[in-house]
């Protein structure tokens, strides 16, 4: 007896329903059609924006003109800073003894002393500083500056109190010259040469053997520039790191005095005599001045030529992104449920029956969840930055400007942060198959290190390690302000500075996500569904 062969019924549908594109489409359909998940992503984006706006509007300023007048609030009180050539807010305040220089030329001088005064411990905070002493970045030297307008381009060579000879230009760049402190027994010779847009700085110990420190291009430098001697001394601050996480600062303006001689010049100097005065306004009465006698200049000044750092007068744009945590929690829940819900409902068996290559299923899920989270994070971060800046302006809070590239990095980085967290949560959900455990592990791994580091008791060293090796390192991608070695400030995660470079921090989180995803693929293949 022969058994008749039965040809199974095959639908005449399009061929190749197990292609990766179809798989992606299937997973996207699942994602799209669960109302709670899309709502979760919307909640994530809204939470990010709403908390950011709360932070942007939290502080508001009120002010009054010196000597009376009505008390004003909000926008009218916005502090203003000069804007430097890179678009950054800068401090540009120093005592300048200057003459115009037309065309190419050079200026050479010998510095024999740099001394200073600090505010007395309990002294009058508005009066001139009284007790002898120097801040490490007190500086005296020669400068070539586009104009006396605060924020204009410059290049300078200077003697500093604690960091040897330096050449600085355009507020952010800083090069080291000859080390060591200056004294009458060990003077420093400084020289600046201008040719077109190029300014070159030299230093020497004896005035005959010169070493070049650096050459800088100052694009669009005016034909006639202001050149001469300057002294500046940044504010003196005693910063105490509290173990409660906060910091306290106290101090006031400091003052430095430089003594110059052997001044020589070359090139066309059309002015007749030296003129002294503050660029950017004197920081207080009785601070700064110069004295010339027999080729010897004594120049006293206060202030600094440096970028403005986050602090009292300004917010950084990353403070408008503090809602990222809330957003991440929602994203983590959605991404975890994207896989654990299939286990809970038994849908995973249907899924694997339809496309038996489990690694590809997980890859498709990761792509869908990651892409959706990326879009949500990107849109939310862009909105938070845009509206945050607007709200801050309405409240008279100064927002430190950053370059367009930095803004792009922060917005795209926040999207990538959401995507990486989503993939990490999805992969852990596939490993554990339990939503509660997966959700809590990912939240704790991302959020707790940040809390312990910023709002808690850990010392700075331990915080730095936590923010290097845990997924929380990824928040570095939101750091708005770079760290400047030539500016004394408290650089810590609490003030918005992370131990890793932005993309390196994000890479740590991506590494965790890749690791757990790999583990998930192995386990998915080995285990029964």
């Amino acid at each position: 007896m022969t058994v008749p062969t039965i040809t199974p019924y095959r639908p005449a549908g399009p061929a190749g329903p197990d292609g990766f594109a179809q798989l992606l489409r299937a997973e996207w359909t699942k994602f799209r059609t669960v109302r709670g998940w899309l709502a979760g992503l919307v909640v994530a984006a809204l939470a990010l924006v709403a908390i950011g706006l709360l932070a942007a509007g939290a502080s508001s300023s009120s002010c009054q003109h010196v000597g009376g007048g009505p008390v004003r609030h909000g926008r009218a009180c916005m502090p203003t800073f000069p804007v430097g050539p890179g678009g950054l807010a800068v401090q540009d305040s120093f005592y300048f003894v200057r003459q115009p220089l037309t065309g190419s030329g050079s200026i050479t001088v010998r510095v024999t002393s740099l001394t200073g005064r600090l505010p007395a411990a309990n002294g009058n905070p508005t009066g001139p500083p009284a007790s002898p002493g120097q801040v490490p970045w007190a500086k005296a030297g020669i400068i070539v500056k586009d104009s006396t307008r605060p924020g204009s381009a410059y290049a300078a060579v200077m003697v500093t109190a604690g960091h040897g000879v330096r050449m600085q230009d355009d507020y952010t760049s800083d090069r080291a010259g000859r080390p060591g402190a200056v004294s009458a027994a060990s003077p420093r010779w400084l020289r600046l040469t201008r040719a077109g847009d190029t300014v070159t700085g030299y230093d020497s110990a004896d005035g005959t053997h010169w070493a070049r420190i650096g050459t800088v291009q100052l694009a669009g430098l005016a034909p006639t520039v202001q050149a001469g001697l300057f002294t500046a001394s940044p504010g003196y601050e005693v910063i105490t790191q509290n173990f409660g996480g906060g910091t306290t600062g106290s101090g006031g303006p400091s003052q430095a005095t430089g003594v110059f001689d052997h001044l020589s010049r070359s090139g066309r100097w059309p002015g007749a005599q030296w003129a002294g005065g503050y660029v950017g306004g004197a920081p207080g009465p009785g601070m700064g001045g110069y004295h010339q006698a027999g080729g010897r200049f004594t120049v006293t000044g206060s202030g600094d030529i440096a970028p403005v750092l986050p602090g009292d007068p300004g917010q950084t744009i990353d403070s408008h992104l503090v809602g990222t945590f809330a957003g991440l929690i929602a994203v983590i829940v959605v991404a975890t449920l994207f896989i654990t819900a299939e286990y809970r409902r038994g849908l995973i068996r249907t899924t694997f029956a339809a496309s038996p290559r489990r690694g590809r299923v997980l890859a498709a899920k990761a792509i869908v969840a990651g892409a959706a989270a990326f879009v949500a994070g990107l849109a939310a971060a862009a909105a938070a930055l845009y509206f945050g800046a607007w709200v801050a302006r309405q409240h008279g809070t100064y927002v430190l400007p950053v370059s367009g590239l930095t803004e792009f990095r922060i917005v795209a980085g926040t999207g990538a942060l959401f995507a990486a967290a989503a993939i990490l949560a999805l992969a852990l959900g596939a490993v554990l198959r339990r939503s509660a455990a997966a959700v809590s592990i990912v939240i704790v791994a991302i959020v707790l290190p940040y809390i312990l580091g910023i709002a808690s008791v850990l010392p700075v060293g331990a915080t730095d390690w936590l923010l290097r090796i845990t997924p929380a390192a990824a928040f570095a991608v939101q750091q708005a302000m770079p760290q400047y070695p030539q500016v004394t400030a408290l650089y810590s995660p609490g003030t918005g500075y992370f131990p890793l470079a932005p993309w390196a921090g994000l890479a740590v989180m991506c590494g965790y996500a890749a690791l757990v995803l790999g583990l998930a693929v192995v386990l998915l293949r080995r285990r029964d569904a």
Binding site: I51, A58, F243, V322, I329, A436, S440, V444, L452
Partner: protein
């Protein structure tokens, strides 16, 4: 009484709760010890540190395990469908919730006391060799000191209240993932968001947040500078827990299981 016995059998025979209680103790002590080991008081510097609070830092991680345990107690019953069996056997739903809460409180109090005592012991062993010596105003941590005793037992109470808060939220939410996310947001978001706010907002938020207020119970020094006093802070957390349990109970009564 039978309800208590039934719930106790569930708690005792499931693998999850035992693991999570162990995790609470281990994580709390480990993080506390690591924090103590990472903190040094260099010679010649004044260290504004509260050694008892420092030694109990691990509670901030341990509470996550407690929250998972408490949420799981009710949400797993919903996700497996067990809740219908439970309510068929014990139709008085509030009794079930009450019994769960009582057992949870007992279990977490026991584990929390163990965790807090372990953390304190770690601090007592580690801190003196890191510059926190009696000669510099840091006497060895001892339960004979009233405020240290309050901080230690208060930490256990804190964990128990966190468990009740989590149970209340989970009863209201029912979905394990959503419940955990809401609980952890409530605990951890306040300190992060408070950080960027203006000082007066910051203070109010710290006074109102369940974690920031509740952890005031751990403070032994500088009490006057705290945003909220130790017992008042724990009271705020207790109010949160009561509110969450009330909301959970109400929804449990009103909804279909």
């Amino acid at each position: 009484m039978t309800a208590l016995h039934a719930e106790w059998t569930k708690l005792r025979t499931l693998a999850g709760p035992a693991w999570l209680l162990t995790a609470t103790v281990v994580l709390t002590v480990a993080v506390s010890a690591a924090t103590a080991a990472a903190t040094r008081c260099p010679a010649g510097l004044a260290c504004p540190v509260d050694p008892a609070r420092l030694s109990l830092t691990g509670v901030q991680l341990g509470q996550a395990a407690v929250a998972i345990l408490a949420a799981g107690l009710i949400t797993t019953e919903y996700s497996t469908g067990m809740i219908r069996t439970t309510f068929t056997a014990m139709p008085r739903r509030l009794t079930v919730l009450g019994v769960k809460a009582a057992l949870l409180t007992g279990a977490v109090l026991a584990a929390g006391t163990l965790a807090a005592l372990g953390s304190l012991a770690a601090g007592r062993l580690i801190l003196p060799s890191h510059g926190f010596t009696a000669a510099r105003g840091f006497p060895a941590l001892s339960l004979a000191d009233g405020s240290v005793l309050r901080a230690t037992l208060g930490s256990a109470l804190y964990l128990a209240l966190i468990a009740l808060l989590s149970l209340g939220i989970a009863t209201a939410v029912r979905d394990p993932a959503a419940a955990i996310a809401i609980i952890l947001s409530l605990l951890y978001l306040v300190p992060v968001v408070a950080h960027v706010l203006a000082p007066d907002w910051y203070r109010h938020l710290e006074q109102a947040g369940p974690m920031t207020a509740g952890l005031a119970i751990q403070a032994t020094t500088g009490l006057r500078h705290l945003p909220i006093g130790p017992w008042a802070g724990l009271g705020v957390l207790a109010a949160w827990a009561a509110g969450a349990l009330l909301a959970g109970a109400l929804l449990l009564r009103l909804r279909d299981a």
